[in-house]
Every structure is written in C-alpha cells, then in structure tokens.
Symmetry: C2
Subunit: 613 residues, 2 copies
C-alpha cells in the first residue's frame, strides 16, 4: 500500500526527494545525498544539524526551542534530527551543517594552513608584456616570472608559442601541482572543475566539483558495467586472468562508463569537459586495479598482494578518460589486497582517527569494510558481503535510483516509499533492510531466516499482510510488497532473498566481532559506530540492528549514518593536496586484518547468520 | 707532398691517430678526442698534462726533468705539451690529466657532496623476500622498503607483478631521478649506460658513457642530415615554418640520425640499446627546438624568443628516440634565441665562471658562440660564422673524419697530414686554418684575402709551390694541396673558399671585439682564451691568430684548446645531476648580447674580414 509521499526540496542545490510524512529532515537530506553532521546521533543535543525550513515548517520541538532564538524559530530554523516532515517543504541546508562538507576544509584553511589545503589544480590569470629585443625571455620564463617556477611537459611546450600569441599574452595559466598544463585565452579562472568518483564493485558514483569554491555541481551514478562478468571482485579477478584481453575488457567497461558519467555531469552542470582538470578515484583494491589496467591476478591468490600501496598520480589519458587533454587522475592509496582506497577515503572523510575511540567505521557495499580505531591504532578488514545491499542477487533488487522502494513499514499493511516518489520498480538496500526487520518483528520471518509459508503464519497477523505471503510456481515462498493496477510488475521478496540478506549481514557482523576481539574491545565500549555506504539512502539504525547487521548492544544514538564516505573522501582529495598526504599516512598506519585467517571467523559467521531474537 | 705519418695509440681506450712527426702529444691527444688539461697554455709549467709514453718515448725535455723523478722519466712519464712524437708511440693518459674528465666529478664527490654528483640514473640490485600472508605488502611497497620512496609510472606498475615474479623477486631496480623505471632480472648493475650528444647545425657528435664509472665507451659523429635544408640555422627555421610538415620533417631527420648513431655506439661498445637509460643533448637553441619538435618560428623573428629557458626533462619516447623503453632525455637550458644549450654546456665543462677573469670562451661552429666572464658577470653572444670551419661551403671541405687533411705546413712544398693517416679526401676546419695561415705567410694570399694569380706570385716563392697555383676552367684561381697518382681527386682551395673563411673568422673576431668593448675589457687584459669546437681537432693557435680568428694581441700561451666543450658539458650532465643544477644557474646568470643590435657590429665585421698584417 503506497502512502502519499511528500516532496522536500533542498536549497541551495534545488535537489528534491519524496518521503513519507513523519520522515525526519535529516533522513530526507540523506536521501538527497546530503549527509548532515550529527555527532550526537540524532539525540537533539549537539545542535550541529541546523537547517532552515523556508516553506512548510511545522511547530518547533523542545530541542529546537533550546537551540534557537525566537527570531530564528520564526525564520524556520530547526534541528534536522528532530523535525519531521509534515507536508511539502523547502529546506535550506547551510554548508556548515553538512558532514564532511567543504566548510571543514575551509575551517582548516583558517588555521593558517592556507597553502596546504588548496586543490592541486589552480588557475591564475596573467597579463604578460610581449617580448621585445630588450626583454627577449623565453616564453616559459616569461610566464614563470608571474607564476614562479613551473614544470611543463613537452606537449604543452610545443603549443606554448601559439597559445601565448593567439591570446595576445593575456590568458589563464592552469597549474596542476606545479605543472603548467595549459594557457587558456582570456580569463577562465571561474571555470575550474574536477570530478570525484567512488568506484564500487556494483555501483559507480561521481560528483562534479567547482575546484575554486568546493561546491558540488552535479552527481551521477550507475551500475558498474563490469557486473556482466560477475557481481563480486573474485569473479572480476578471474575474468581478468582468463585471457590477455580479459583485463583490457574490464578496464574498457569501467572507463567507458566513467566517460559517460562525466558527460552526464557536464550536461547537468552545463560545463565543458575540457574544463575538468583532475579526477580522483576511491574504490576497493580490485576496482582501482581494473580502473588503472593493473593486472589484479595476485589479488585472487594467497597472499592477495596488490601492486601499489601509495596513491597514484597519472595522466587521465593513461586510463583513457578524456577530460582536459593534460588532465590528471589521482587514485587513492590502499591498505591491502582487500581493503582499498574506498576505505582510506572513508577514514579520511570521517576523520576517524581524530575522534574519541574506540570507534568503528562500517562501509557497507559489495564488500563490507570495517575499520576500528582504538588507542591510536587502526585495524581494517574486509568481508565479502555480496551485492545484496546494492540490490543485486535479490530477485526484485535494484540500486538506489528512481522507483526503488527504500523505506518499508508494516502497520496493518505494507507502507512504502520510493526514491523520486514514483511507482515502485524494485527494492534497494535500505528498503530490503527495513522489510526484513519488519517481517521479523511481525513474525513472518523466523530468527533462522525462514520466510514462513501461508499456513505457518502467526495467528494474530492482519489479513492484509497474510494475503501477501504466497508460494510461487517454483514452490518458493515470497512476500509481495507492491502489486496491483498502479504497479508495473509486482515487487516481492523471496526466501532466497532473505538468505542473501542473512549472508550479507552475517558477514559484516562477523567481521565486526573478529575485529573487536582482536583489539580486545567490547561492543558496549564502542563510543560510536559510523555507517557508510551508497547502498540506499538513510539507513534506519534500529532496523539494521534488528536484522543483525549491527550489534544490538550499541545504543542506537551512538550509530551515525555518514553517507557515501568513500565519495566524500574522493571529493576531499580533489579539493586538498593536504588531504592526499593525510590519506597516504592513514593507509600506511592501518593494519590489515585478514579475516579469513582468523580461526574463529567461520564460527562467528555461522552465528551471525541467525537473526537476533 | 704527403709526409709519412706515424701512429700514436692512446691507452686505456686504444684509440689511434696518425700525426706528422714533430707533433706534440697534447695535439695528438686532441685529435683522438682526448683533451688534456693545460692551464699554462702548453708552456710546460703547470705540470697538469702528465702522460706515460709506454712505447716510443724520446728523450725527456728540460721541463720533463723538472716535473718528474728519474724513476718516472724511466717509466716514460712526460708532459704532453712538451714532448713531440718522433715515431710510432703508445701513450697512456691518466684520467687525472684529462680536461673536464670524470676525475673532476669524482674530486667533487670527495668534497662531501656525494649525493649531489651522482648521475640521475642508478641501479640497485635487491633480493626481496616473496610476500606471505604475514607480509602481504604491495609489490611497490616491498621494493620501497629496500629502495626508499620512489615514483613509478603506471606503465611500469602494469608490468611490475610479472617483473618481480619472473625474477623470483631478485633483480635490479633501475632508478632515474627517484623514478623507478624498470626491474631487471638478476644483477645488471654493471650495465648502466647513457649517451651524450652535441647537436651542431652541421655536425652531430655522440658519446656513450658508462654511468657507473664515467668511462667513455665509444664516440660517433656524422653530418647533421638537416643540412639538406640549408646549412645555417635560419634556413632551418624557415623550412620549419613553410608548412606544418616542415618542422616534423626536420625533427625526423635529426632523430633518425641520432637513432643510427646510438646503434653505432652500441655496436662499437658491444652493448644493448635498452641498457641505455638516459640521453643528454646540448645544441644551439634552434637545434634543440628541432630535436624536441618545438616550433622554432619565433627564433627567426625579432625579438628571437625561444620557447624554453630552463633545461628540459622528458621521456626519450617523447622525441622518438628508442633507448630503454622508459628512458629519459635531458636537454640543456638555453641563454637566449641564439645562445643555446651548447654554450651553457661549454661554460659548465670549462668551469668558466670559476676561473680567473677576464676570460673568454670561443666555441667555433656554424655559429660562433662567445662568452666573456669578468668581475662575476657573464656576457654571451652568438655570431653567424657559417659552416666553413666544419668544412661546408668550402669546395673541398669536409668534416673532421677519416681522410680529412687537418694539418698543413708550407716548407718548400706543401706538407699535410690526414685524420686516420689515409689518402686525402678533403680539408677540414683545422686544415683550412693552417692552409690559409701558411698561404698568407708565403704571400700567396694577400691581407685582403685575394688568392694571387700565377702571374702575381711573389718572386722568391719555391717552384714547387708556384706550380700549385692554377686557374680553373671558370677563371677562378685555386691552390692545389694534393693531387697526383695517390690522390683520388685533387684537393684544392679556391678564391671563394678563402672568402668563406674570411667571413667566418671575421664574424667571430667582430663578436669578440664587441663583447670586450661592452664589458670594457681590453684584449691584452684577457687572462685566458679557451677555444672550443669539434670542427677539426687540435687548433694551432698561432695560425688561428694569423688568419685573424683570434686577436693577435693575446700571448699564444694564454690560448687553450678545450676540445668539444659542448659535448663535454653534455657528458657531465649525464654523470651528475648537480652539474644540471649548475647549468641551470649558469644559463640564467649569463646576459645575452644581441650583436646585430650593436651599432658598431657592421664596422667591426668589415674590419675583421681583412687578414691581419
């Protein structure tokens, strides 16, 4: 039963999402890709998630009254973690309320580290005096008198005389990390862009940034087309190794997709792709290898050795992605064969090492990456969760895109909301978690994960729900979420889907258990758990605990959703060379824990497969 | 009349030259490409040019007795500037007696600058422990634990896993300026080569060096094939500008020649070209532009602006020269549009700025480059001498190669010696200077440069000489140097040849005069004049003064031939990154004097055209 969803529009970006009435603004923001800062875990105490509801503001809560003046309350200021959406609303999110937003970089700049937090790419408009007999300096020296010493590759030097003369010696020098990469006619300083990517096994997400202001101009996402060769990293590694063309084929697939995404980002922002000067990429070790056409064979064999550890800088042309002709590409450092640049980017973006520990970062994707910071040390592990949270291997699964059911409630009948507020097409990760949790609560799924048959359902179950449990032609039990006239194809979960979810959640929770044990940390001692991932939108913490993805012993206010931390880290790296140095240090400081080598992993995994009572 | 020449063999290289009896060893060494150090100008006082005559040693001179013990004299030790060749001889030149030899670099290393004077390219043999589960470091990190932090381009990273595993993790890391460019199976540290080139308008000279020891393994030279598009820089610039293909055509010609020379060097030394890891190039600004496929158009227009000032580092592949697949190429910094990297290399190799001034460096080639060091300042100018000194534009001219008459004496008749001691084919620069000086002394050429006709010859002239002056079918007077049965084709000079020589010498002397005047230095104040060039072999100073190439007011002991200083500088740059830094400083410290802008240049030139009385 679809509930009437309401539209919430976020300013200044103008992005809109449809949510069920009663949804907290912080959650709606998360769905719109804007993760609000909330160190108190949504308790309404820290006052960080300040937003201004400029249309459709309801009555302020007690917490709002504590944090805002009367004047402010009148202007619509509210705490996003406290205020629920009642009807259509327009919400302005100040930059300072965003988690891992550019304000944190700007704040750092104010600490006197101005130089270090600049992006690698910068533009300088210069007006040079044309050469004369009395001043016959070489073209590049003439420029250097304005810019300071720069490096210029031979390709640019071959063009430099005409670039300078065609622009009457007035133009914009484009510098990337002290390399002069172009001299553009006239003043183009206002057009200086970069794109950051999270390269997931299943999902690719890209963000176009204004390198001058740090502003995000567009986002794009799509399924990693390599899934046609298998939905986990091992099958990709195997394919790359089957023939000399295998690696090239996978490399081509991803780079073609990235080119298309860049086109899409450019169209959305109305910019030209040759004004994009740098790219940054964070992905797991295998994805980064395939992106760079590095043979991942060793990643598929004991002892799972990657080729590079440090971050990589190369020409974007080296990976066949055309932005500016001399554009650069940065690829994150990796921790080990299965803990890659996405994890490093996540640690960077969440400032994990600077927070009070013990603290856990759980990045949920096709692999679940888990990082524990404790007493100055950092343990990192990866667990093969499978792509269930990204909608793959789930009969009606889909990635978090328009039409995906991403929130489910059982209350007499099924209530659901889709991304974009359209008719339901399938079920994304967060919807699946909600659904499983609700089915457990309703007793339709047993703690062992069995979807009960129509004859086994608990006696008190409302008829509306009862009739949704059916057996398909193959004899498999399924639960129908949406069907009827307004639904193109019925959306349902099957017994097999529930099993996939158990495997995925179990793998992550077993990983958490092993890591905590190795560090000698009790679950209850955890100060915070940060949940990252682009798998759905805003994860509902209690539901994640209900299905055993996260330990139940943790107070849910200590759990915070931090959005796509990998992408956030990639954005930071684009905006700050200092962040890249920090990423380098973080990658080397982390100790890689090989979960499969822990004698208790199998036992933990088996136990974690069972839904908690 | 050819005199019987004698063979002098130099150890340890084994190079042999043929010289007329009476030739000083220092001169014979110069012809073999080994310039001996002689700060005293050959006066026998400084004792720097020590050599050991192991076969054919004559009686020691007075100076020898002063500089060596009896024991040493018995062992054949002599001063090369004092000892004349009497018959066939074998001479060992210690490294310490060479001008701009590797010992000077080694000496610097002893001053505690060990790090700074190493070549950019170095090899390190390492044995790595293969990865295990307990030690699963990335391949590159594993290497870095042995090498320190290195950069590796994506091309190498793509090969690294198989390079390491195919060699069982035991191999030789090749580093170029902190870039890892290869990992070679087994211990190849003994094979580490580089090649240095002097890129002249008319002549190309290359030298293959062992980068580990600094030893020169082979030399090669040939005519710059671009001469087919004109024998001076301006005609090359024009050709490059005529069509979009012009530049590419000239670039191709030079790089093809360089590739062939590298093949020749490799054959001679018996090494593989993929063990050459770096190249260095010194040439005039136009030649360097054409080498790098940089459009030289602006060099042909007022105000003659080059594209680059600083030295350039690029991949050898960027200029289409294949050595090691990731080999590098270094191109010297330039001072200005007409004073290029060859001059900087010459200043570097002669340590011009560190010597007592005022001191002059004159590099004689198709352009004559002149540098004056005085009171901490440095003036540099270039003058279009034309290719006469390299044998071009001279009817029987040829470059300094086997069969070239490179020394001439008139003494009753003509006596001459050829390079290699073979029959004469033509006349190279030093032979032309000798001949003109001798013809002047004999009164066969007038101070105005007129080659007297058969009827105008001075009365006392020996008949043997008299009959050599003839008039050819075109009515042009000529002097026949060699003809007869043992000569394939007669070798002669014509009136036009003498005119070419006047132009060439006059341009250089006028340049010297202007530079001295601008600095307020009198000719007689010059402490030393260093003559550089690959135009012949050992220049005879008094003859150079006789034809007005060098001012007569300078005591000839203050004049020193320093060989191909440009090539020597290129060699230094290959052996020492510190030398490259110094080259950078020198290029920026020099002030470029545009001779054509001096109001007195034309008058000076006209005056210098006349041979001195």
């Amino acid at each position: 039963m679809p509930d009437e969803q309401v539209r919430v529009t976020f300013e200044p970006h103008g992005r809109a999402v449809y949510v069920l009435p009663g949804t907290k603004i912080i959650e709606a923001g998360g769905r719109a890709g804007m993760t609000l800062d909330s160190p108190c875990g949504g308790a309404g105490t820290c006052g960080k998630c300040r937003v201004q509801v400029t249309r459709g503001a309801g009555d302020p809560t007690l917490a709002d009254r504590k944090h805002f003046s009367k004047e402010e309350l009148r202007e619509g200021w509210r705490l996003a973690c406290q205020t629920a959406v009642g009807g259509p609303a327009v919400v302005r999110i100040p930059e300072t309320s965003l988690f891992a937003g550019k304000h944190q970089i700007l704040a750092e700049r104010q600490k006197g580290k101005a130089q270090e937090v600049l992006p690698a790419v910068r533009k300088v408009y210069v007006e040079l005096s044309p050469p004369t007999l009395a001043d016959g300096d070489a073209d590049l020296l003439r420029l250097e008198k304005k810019l300071g010493k720069v490096k210029a590759d031979i390709g640019l030097l071959r063009q430099l005389p005409s670039l300078l003369r065609d622009s009457d010696f007035k133009g914009t020098a484009v510098l990337a990390d002290h390399h002069l990469i172009d001299f553009e006619r006239g003043d183009t300083t206002a057009q200086c862009y970069g794109a950051a990517f999270d390269i997931g096994t299943t999902t690719l997400v890209g963000s176009l940034l204004d390198l001058r202001t740090g502003e995000e101009l567009a986002i794009a996402s799509r399924v990693n087309p390599q899934v046609s060769f298998g939905d986990d990293v091992l099958s990709r590694i195997q394919h790359a190794g089957t023939s000399p063309e295998g690696l090239i084929q996978l490399h081509r697939l991803i780079t073609e997709a990235l080119r298309e995404m860049i086109d899409e980002l450019c169209r959305e922002a109305g910019i030209s792709r040759d004004r994009i000067y740098e790219l940054s990429f964070a992905g797991n070790t295998t994805m980064q290898h395939l992106l760079c056409a590095l043979d991942p064979t060793q990643l598929g064999r004991v002892p799972f050795v990657p080729i590079h550890g440090h971050g990589l800088m190369m020409a974007s042309a080296d990976i066949n992605i055309s932005i500016h002709r001399r554009g650069a590409a940065y690829v994150f450092p990796v921790i080990g064969g299965f803990v890659g640049g996405d994890t490093v980017a996540g640690i960077l973006a969440t400032r994990l090492t600077e927070q009070e520990g013990p603290i856990l970062l759980v990045d949920i994707g096709t692999n679940g990456e888990i990082v524990l910071c404790h007493k100055g040390g950092m343990l990192a592990a990866s667990t093969a969760a499978g792509p269930a949270f990204e909608g793959a291997r789930i009969s009606c699964g889909m990635r978090a895109a328009g039409g995906a059911i991403e929130k489910v409630l059982l209350d007499g009948d099924v209530h659901w909301g889709t991304i974009g507020g359209t008719g339901p097409i399938g079920l994304c990760g967060s919807g699946l978690i909600d659904l499983a949790a609700e089915l457990l609560k309703a007793g339709i799924v047993s703690p062992q994960g069995r979807l009960l048959g129509p004859d086994e359902l608990p006696p008190g179950l409302p008829a509306a729900l009862r009739r949704r449990v059916t057996v398909d032609s193959g004899g498999q039990t399924r639960f129908i979420i949406a069907d009827g006239a307004d639904v193109e194809r019925p959306v349902a979960v099957t017994q097999r889907d529930i099993r996939e979810l158990q495997l995925a959640g179990g793998a992550i929770r077993a990983g958490i258990a092993i890591l905590l044990r190795q560090a000698g940390v009790k679950t209850t001692e955890l100060k915070r758990v940060l949940i990252a991932g682009g798998f759905g939108s805003f994860i509902r913490r209690s539901n994640a605990q209900r299905i055993g993805l996260l330990p139940r012993q943790i107070d849910h206010q200590r759990i915070q959703y931090v959005g796509n931390a990998s992408l956030n880290g990639a954005k930071w790296a684009l905006l700050s060379t200092e962040a890249r140095k920090r990423a380098e240090d973080l990658a080397r400081a982390a100790r890689h824990v090989e979960l499969s080598q822990d004698p208790q992993f199998q036992a933990e995994f088996a136990e974690a497969m069972i839904f908690p009572e």
